[in-house]
């Protein structure tokens, strides 16, 4: 127990020292047009906390600007692809612009508070600043393409969980490289690194 504690202490001391050293060595004048001024912990992680969080797979739960009820929309017979139009066509499923929302909500349920919020964005000429739920950390350098997966018959819920029961989308499936590779191996899809990492 004591050993464990000492080990943890040593780890944090080393981390903090490295962090300070690196940030001193690398900080550069701000007016230089050349890049790089923020402090960093490791190449991939700007801070210790950031590194720890990613190692443990902690992600902050996104707070959406509008409490969008997926369940109600699906219950009303709106399929995923009606709004996430890109999913069968290209890499990105896409989150619709508020123009699409307003095609229905100009008339439907236009008195509800959340719908009024959408209308507010729409009328100001701006879009709803939706927050990402899934997606990969930039340091993973993964380029995921939805379309081939849909064509291969992978169900949306395989990676996104059962959205029929969700209001705002939540991270229901822990997506990591093992998760991807498990499926790729089972389906005999390519497991070459550059299939996804580029």
């Amino acid at each position: 127990m004591l050993q464990h504690r000492l080990g943890a202490l040593a780890f944090s001391l080393v981390s903090v020292a490295t962090f300070l050293l690196c940030s001193c060595a690398r900080s550069r004048s701000a007016n230089d047009s050349s890049p790089g001024s923020e402090p960093f912990f490791t190449p991939a992680h700007p801070t210790v906390a950031n590194a720890v969080k990613e190692f443990l797979g902690w992600r902050a739960t996104p707070i959406q600007p509008i409490a969008f009820p997926h369940n109600k929309h699906i219950a009303n017979g709106i399929a995923c692809m009606v709004c996430h139009t890109g999913v069968s066509k290209g890499p990105v499923a896409g989150i619709p612009s508020d123009k699409l929302c307003m095609r229905c909500h100009e008339f439907l349920a236009s008195d509800r508070a959340e719908v009024k919020k959408v209308a507010g964005y729409f009328n100001s000429g701006l879009d709803v600043p939706w927050q990402r739920v899934y997606g990969f950390s930039p340091s993973a350098h993964v380029k995921f393409n939805h379309a081939p997966h849909i064509r291969a018959g992978v169900d949306c819920s395989r990676c996104h969980g059962d959205v029929t029961n969700m209001t705002v989308a939540v991270r229901a499936v822990q997506i990591n490289m093992g998760f991807c590779l498990g499926c790729h191996r089972a389906q005999q899809a390519s497991t070459d690194c550059v299939t996804c990492h580029f």
Binding site: D32, S33, S34, P43, P138, H141, R151, D192, C193, F198
Partner: protein
């Protein structure tokens, strides 16, 4: 049939204009580093045009040579990587897996063509210049080695498209950004496994040579030597 992507560079066509350099920079999110870093040779271009003078005034000559990753079959960069970040892909390219890279820079030391560039800083695009970034290519951060990928994102996109249409890839598909832009068509890209492809035809040219061929790296890029004029029909 699996593909073996290769390139031919016809030095008799190349004019040294630099269109390929910017095409690559735009396609692959290659950052600019600024004057200070440029002075320390820390520019990030994946393709460069070497310029060599020959002779002196009044009879000087210049040779231009676009140099990019040679995608060696026997690549010196691969075995030295302690994390297998540089590795040989199933299609024979020299892959670089950024999330494996821990920045030892052994590969850059091993590469005789000095085509690998290292991110000494986190790249910065002054807003709104970041809107130009290609979403199909990742943005590499500090501490990561990077290099020409033969526009792997274009290769993958073409393969996915061909598969969706249930057909084989056609000649002239995919095209890396540098090849696409080259005005005098000095750069030619294609499948070396297809003996009828233009790149295979050019690779067999008597003017063809490999860069530093004596090292035995077996590059997939063939350089076609510049010709000279000695009269008609030369």
């Amino acid at each position: 049939m699996s593909h073996c992507w290769g390139m031919a560079v016809d030095l008799d066509r190349c004019t040294g204009c630099g269109a390929c350099v910017i095409a690559c920079q735009a396609e692959n999110n290659v950052p600019t580093v600024g004057e200070e870093a440029a002075q320390k040779s820390r520019t990030m271009h994946w393709i460069r045009i070497e310029r060599y003078y020959e002779g002196e005034f009044p009879n000087p000559r210049v040779r231009f040579r676009p140099v990019l990753c040679q995608q060696c079959d026997n690549a010196p960069c691969e075995p030295v990587c302690p994390t297998y970040a540089s590795y040989h892909t199933s299609e024979g390219l020299n892959g670089q897996v950024y999330n494996r890279c821990i920045g030892t820079r052994y590969c850059a030391n091993a590469c005789p063509y000095t085509v690998r560039t290292f991110n000494f800083f986190n790249p910065v695009w002054d807003k709104p210049l970041h809107l130009q970034l290609n979403p199909e290519v990742s943005v590499r951060q500090i501490g990561v080695m990077e290099k020409c990928t033969f526009c792997i994102q274009r290769i993958k996109a073409s393969e996915i498209q061909a598969k969706a249409e249930n057909r084989a890839l056609r000649e002239g598909e995919p095209v890396p950004a540098c090849v696409q832009s080259c005005p005098p068509k000095a750069l030619v890209f294609g499948d070396l496994n297809d003996p009828d492809s233009e790149v295979s035809r050019l690779a067999r040219s008597p003017r063809g040579a490999k860069l530093l061929s004596e090292l035995g790296t077996q590059p997939k890029i063939t350089y076609l030597q510049r010709d000279s004029w000695d009269g008609p029909n030369s």
